[in-house]
Amino acid sequence: MTTPVKRDGEVGGGTPLLEARDLTVNHGQLRAVDAISLRVYPGEVYAMIGANGAGKSTLLRTIAGLHQPAAGAVLLDGQDLTRVRPERRARQGIALVPEGRRLFGSLSVEENLKVGTAYARKGPWTIDRVYETFTWMKDRRNQRTAQLSGGEQQTVAIGRALVANPRVLLLDELSLGLAPVIVQRIYGMLPQILATGLTVLLVEQDVSQALRVASRLQCLLEGRTTLEGTPADVTAEQVEAAYFGLTGAAAVLGEGSES
């Protein structure tokens, strides 16, 4: 990765663009997210990895405003958004591409993008630019999105978030239900997106994909942080141990490279 890597606690990095402080979220009696903290700096790609049910999507949705945390705070550029409604957070520059795409099925591709522009901020992304970036879209722009393939829907969902010209793009499980080659292609678009000044916080079950694009990462298990660092720092064994919650010998073996 060529983007500058900031480490937590490193001086000179300035304020993080997006910050979660000791965020705790409950689903009824289940603690889905347990005192998680993260800081995402401008221009970087921060990845949250972990198995199904680890709490990653809940965390992302809480940052977007769809869940209220039981404790903790969400800050955008230093501003506390914890009590702000999701639509206002979206207007302030947090754009979530939700798990499962969640396109407006009865609307066409272009209409979906137009909804994205309804409360958009000023910026480089327009519907035309989305058509240039995802070349197949223009020809199919009047097609109802319910008829598109999974990968096509995913790119429309990303496009819908982009045209709002957000400051932070939240990507929830892009790879879910898609063929690996499609996933590669979509993640391949990331540099183009970052080049326009966006910051990305993504959630992924596919660890190798996440390691390939992230500048920093965090692993969750049962709502708690089990690993933090950069792709360069962590070994495969450490990731495996953190992902699955392995203890004992495997964890000890993983304590290899400390820097």
């Binding site: 977007a64 405003g65 769809l66 409604r85 999701p86 639509e87 979206a90 207007r91 754009a95 979530l96 939700p98 969640r102 396109l103 407006f104 099925g105 009865s106 609307l107 209409e111 979906n112 137009k114 909804v115 994205g116 309804a118 409360y119 958009a120 819908r160 978030a161 709002a164």
Partner: protein, 291 residues
């Protein structure tokens, strides 16, 4: 030839029923709410119209121009306050709250205006006059105008939903409320707009009904709500033009029933409704089967 006249009358009353029904269909399509007070609010509109005319003595059609927007605004606020609170607590609560609202409105009207029925425009040629087509077919001016208004309203709604940016938001929120929020839309405001449209159209229907027939406190449920619902189901859930088709079928069924036996008018309409429910539950206009 009396049968032909019956069918013609039935088709024309379909326009009135479409006005009753399109608001109900819209509210259900957008926010999954069945407003049991839907018809009663139409009656309120009618009474307000009567009041406005009595107090200000303006021409009847001008009262329509005043009442409809007022009811639309009331609809927006009713949605943002009462109905949204109920929606936040679930479907059951919403039904109970709107049922309660219906009872309160009907009994309040009964208490303040008595059970006597009222109408407007009794002396106007628009209301009483008609064309004659041949010796057996009468085309009442009022029904023709109501039918034309209904078609205009449906065209307007269709244009609004498919072409305007607000209409697009309404459709988006109807598809996926949460995703719309993520794109910056306040769905409560969009719901309010849908409710405003629903109440505006049903107020129009209520005013039309007070000219076509007479209003009494129970007409809201006995006539308007039930007919609106039947028209929606016959036409097909989720179809705007289906409300016109459903209204026409209901109207024809009622008129034919009246031809057979004058007291069978209502029963005939309901039997056709049951028939559609049995044979084609998704309605006449819907393309795919609903479950």
């Amino acid at each position: 030839m009396a049968w032909v006249n019956a069918i013609v009358q039935g088709v024309l009353t379909g326009g009135l029923y479409a006005l009753f029904a399109c608001g109900l269909s819209l509210m259900f399509g957008v926010m999954k709410v069945v407003n049991l007070a839907h018809g009663d609010l139409a009656v309120v509109a009618g009474y307000v119209g009567v009041g406005v005319i009595t107090v200000t003595n303006i021409p009847v059609l001008w009262s329509v121009v005043i009442v409809v927007p007022v009811m639309a605004v009331i609809g927006y606020f009713l949605q943002r306050t009462l109905i949204q609170s109920a929606l936040n607590r679930g479907v059951l609560t919403t039904l109970i709250v709107t049922l309660g609202l219906s009872m309160v409105i009907e009994n309040a009207l009964l208490q303040f205006f008595t059970a006597n029925s009222r109408g407007i425009g009794a002396g106007m040629t628009l209301v009483t006059g008609s064309f004659s087509l041949g010796s057996q077919v009468e085309l009442p001016y009022l029904l023709l105008v109501i039918f034309a208004v209904a078609v205009a309203v449906l065209l307007g709604l269709q244009w609004f939903l498919s072409r305007s940016s607000y209409g697009r938001l309404v459709r988006a929120v109807a598809d996926d409320q949460e995703a719309a929020q993520l794109s910056g839309a306040d769905y409560r405001h969009v719901f309010g707009i849908a409710a405003a449209l629903a109440l505006g159209t049903v107020a129009l229907g209520g005013m039309a009904y007070s000219m076509y027939s007479t209003l009494d406190p129970t007409a809201g449920t006995d006539t308007i709500l039930l007919f609106a619902f039947v028209a929606v189901v016959i036409g097909g859930l989720g179809s705007l033009w289906g409300t016109l088709v459903g209204g026409i079928v209901l109207g024809i069924a009622q008129q034919i029933g009246a031809q057979i036996n004058i007291s069978d008018e209502l029963l005939a309409g309901y039997l056709v409704f049951l028939l559609v429910l049995v044979l084609r539950p998704q309605g006449l206009v819907s393309r795919r089967a609903q479950s």
